[in-house]
């Protein structure tokens, strides 16, 4: 079961013929993901790992009935690929691409929402419901199914935490990498709402970072609306403060974004905040 995606989810791969696209198509198929098609312009009719390739997303959707897509497209074209997917009727778009300009992403984020679709990322490892489907680039073997929901802004740090959870005998319901960019689709709060509704999720791990205010909003949500126990790690306590120019950033993000402010708010919300990522599994174990 899990949230957002499961073994029934039909997935197409945008950028399926590229180095990363084809490699991870094989890995996802191996995991059991229902990859039903791929898209690369002007390579329609070809096959990758036995999966048919189409010229456009709408052709792929018409032929396969897919409602989910994963994007491995270079940054200059990735924002357009998200729009193409949503216009073709895709409901869940997972965007792996790193380095998409902010001005592109602002428009895309609003567009996706206006169409009632959902975007994961960009600059994210994807989403996995262990034992059912993996729509992303994460190493599948470290995941195992169980009661812990995981939400993270970071890719490899997620692997670290999941590896520790699995080693400690704590399986995961769904693991979502929401992406490390300033402008992303699905946020912490959206995932928390979905985990609250999911009867199989008994506890949640939230992995945040310095910068932005999504963690602060998540902490407020946990305090008022979330009934399940939450363990939190915030990366970047020792990171140097970014050099900056001008005042605009400081005005708009006044007082938010530091590790201290995030940690304090999560503690106030009753979450178990740990100092090191390797301590997460111990904190979760204490919930059961």
């Amino acid at each position: 079961m899990g949230i957002y995606v499961n073994r029934e989810t039909k997935v197409i791969v945008q950028g399926i013929t590229g180095r990363d696209g084809s490699f991870h198509t094989a890995k996802m198929l191996e995991y059991g993901t229902r990859i039903v098609g791929g898209v690369t312009p002007f390579k329609g009719g070809a096959e990758v790992e036995g999966v048919p390739v189409f010229n456009t997303v709408s052709q792929a959707v018409a032929a396969t009935g897919a409602d989910t897509s994963i994007i491995y497209i270079p940054p200059a074209f990735a924002a357009g690929s998200v729009i193409e997917a949503v216009e073709a009727g895709i409901k869940n778009v997972v965007c792996i691409t790193e380095g998409i300009p902010v001005t592109d992403m602002m428009t895309v984020a609003h567009f996706v929402r206006s169409k009632g679709a959902r975007l994961f990322g960009p600059n994210c490892p994807g989403i996995i419901t262990p034992g059912e489907t993996k729509i992303g680039i994460m190493p599948g073997h470290i995941f195992t199914s169980g009661p812990v929901g995981v939400i993270s802004r970071s890719g490899t740090l997620t692997y670290e935490v999941v590896h520790n959870l699995t080693s400690a005998g704590l399986g995961q319901s769904t693991v979502i990498g929401i992406g490390g960019d300033p402008i992303i689709g699905t946020k912490f709060i959206d995932c928390l709402e979905a985990f609250e509704e999911d009867p199989e999720t008994k506890a949640v791990v939230l992995i945040g970072e310095i910068g932005g205010s999504d963690e602060e909003m998540a902490a407020a949500y946990i305090k008022d609306h979330f009934s399940k126990p939450v363990a939190v790690f915030i990366a970047g306590k020792t990171a140097p403060r970014g050099k900056r120019m001008g005042h605009a950033g400081a005005i708009i993000h006044a007082g938010k974004g530091t590790a201290e402010s995030k940690v304090a708010l999560f503690r106030e919300a009753g979450a178990a905040v740990v100092d090191l990522p390797v301590d997460i599994a111990g904190a979760v174990k204490a919930f059961f």
């Binding site: 490899t156 050099k243 990522p277 390797v278």
Partner: protein
């Protein structure tokens, strides 16, 4: 990418935003001609990327050609130290010489993006000048903020709301509308992360003029702004960082002696947190990024080895899109080209782990799977080195 004031003003001019008459000077010999054209009275402005320039004496008023010359002589070719230059000072290699203007009022105007609402946000305050951040804390309501839906773009009512916050009559509205529209167009078209005009001055004829300008262009968008890449000036203390970025690496030099090389920014930050937690100091932040390329490992190692303070190297790779065999191949190649005397502790797990370990074995290296064990080993090695010294 940060722009120097004169570069930012060049863009303002391109977008029909009024700026003072001015000239860029890179040598004292060019000065007299320029000052003469401005009629003697002028402002001499040091062109540096760091903020805090005004308070540090980098902006000087001159009433005569002689005064302009002494101001220029005092600034040009010398380092200017501000509260943002970390004690070193930034070399002034150009001056902007501008006309002196009289104005009615100093305002603050900026456009940046708001992560929370995922929109551009325009900010205007009647209290321009250097104390704007203090004002933002003490009296946040005095800064008017207007958010623009990126799908529909800027509308007349956005501009009206901003203007009304100034409490001024209708006379200046037409000029203000043109100004805001042009600045917003610049912000979007040139992929700015920030455009800040402080001060924006109101002139006696109810028009507006940008007396100063700061701009940051989104690095991710530079692929479509070749003209800006060409004029790029990289601050001295960021040169290594920019070089690294061009190679697809994300690097920040720090003061410690434990170098680290990690895949992914989050894990890299967490690795630094762990190093510090165990009483050591990270020498750098280094994220080799999310794609798989053995060459990146070689370049990352080269950057680390440039820092003579480094006593031990800690490698932490959890393969996802990065494949362990690619990382191992990078090491194999790097180590065949240079002799390494600095000890290395490695943690390698995830995608293609088995293949990666086999390659490392061939060259006599071993790697941990578990991060806790790897850090414990790092601590031991570090302790050993410290005791030798």
């Amino acid at each position: 990418m940060k722009l120097l004031e004169y570069q930012a003003k060049h863009l303002l001019k391109e977008y029909h935003v009024p700026i003072p008459e001015g000239f860029v000077v890179k040598g004292l010999s060019e000065l007299s001609r320029v000052v003469q054209r401005l009629g003697g009275r002028c402002v001499v402005k040091a062109q540096i990327l760091a903020g805090g320039r005004g308070k540090a004496g980098g902006v000087r008023l001159a009433g005569t050609a002689q005064e302009a010359f002494s101001a220029a002589e005092a600034l040009l070719g010398k380092p200017l130290e501000t509260y943002q230059t970390a004690g070193k000072g930034e070399l002034v290699s150009a001056l902007l010489i501008e006309e002196q203007l009289s104005f009615l009022k100093e305002l603050y105007f900026s456009i940046t993006y708001d992560r929370e609402t995922q929109t551009p946000v325009l900010m205007l305050s009647a209290e321009g000048g250097v104390e704007i951040e203090e004002i933002a804390v003490k009296n946040p309501d005095s800064i008017k903020k207007v958010r623009v839906n990126p799908m529909t773009g800027i509308q007349e009512h956005h501009i009206r709301e901003l203007y009304l916050s100034l409490g001024r009559g209708k006379e200046g509205y037409r000029a203000f509308t043109g100004l805001v529209r042009n600045l917003f167009r610049l912000y979007m078209e040139r992929d700015a992360a920030m455009v800040e005009i402080n001060p924006l001055v109101l002139l006696e004829d109810e028009t507006f003029l940008a007396l100063d300008a700061k701009m940051i262009i989104d690095d991710n968008a530079l692929f479509r702004h070749g003209d800006l890449v060409e004029i790029r000036k990289v601050p001295e203390d960021e040169q290594q960082e920019v070089e690294a970025r061009e190679k697809g690496l994300s690097f920040v030099k720090l003061d410690g002696d434990v170098a680290c090389m990690v895949n992914g920014a989050g894990l890299a930050m967490a690795t630094m947190d762990m190093i510090k937690h165990h009483g050591m100091e990270p020498a750098n932040f280094l994220d080799i990024g999310g794609s798989s390329n053995p060459q990146k490992v070689i370049e990352a190692l080269d950057i680390i080895l440039k820092n003579s303070k480094v006593k031990v190297i800690f490698i932490n790779v959890f393969g996802g899109i990065t494949r362990c065999d690619d990382v191992a191949n990078g090491f194999k190649k790097a180590l065949s080209q240079r002799s390494m005397t600095i000890p290395m502790v490695m943690r390698l797990t995830g995608t293609n782990e088995k293949e990666g370990r086999r390659i490392l074995e061939e060259i006599g290296y071993d790697a941990f799977t578990d991060l806790k064990e790897a850090v414990a080993r790092l601590k031991e090695v570090y302790k050993g080195i410290r005791e030798e010294h």
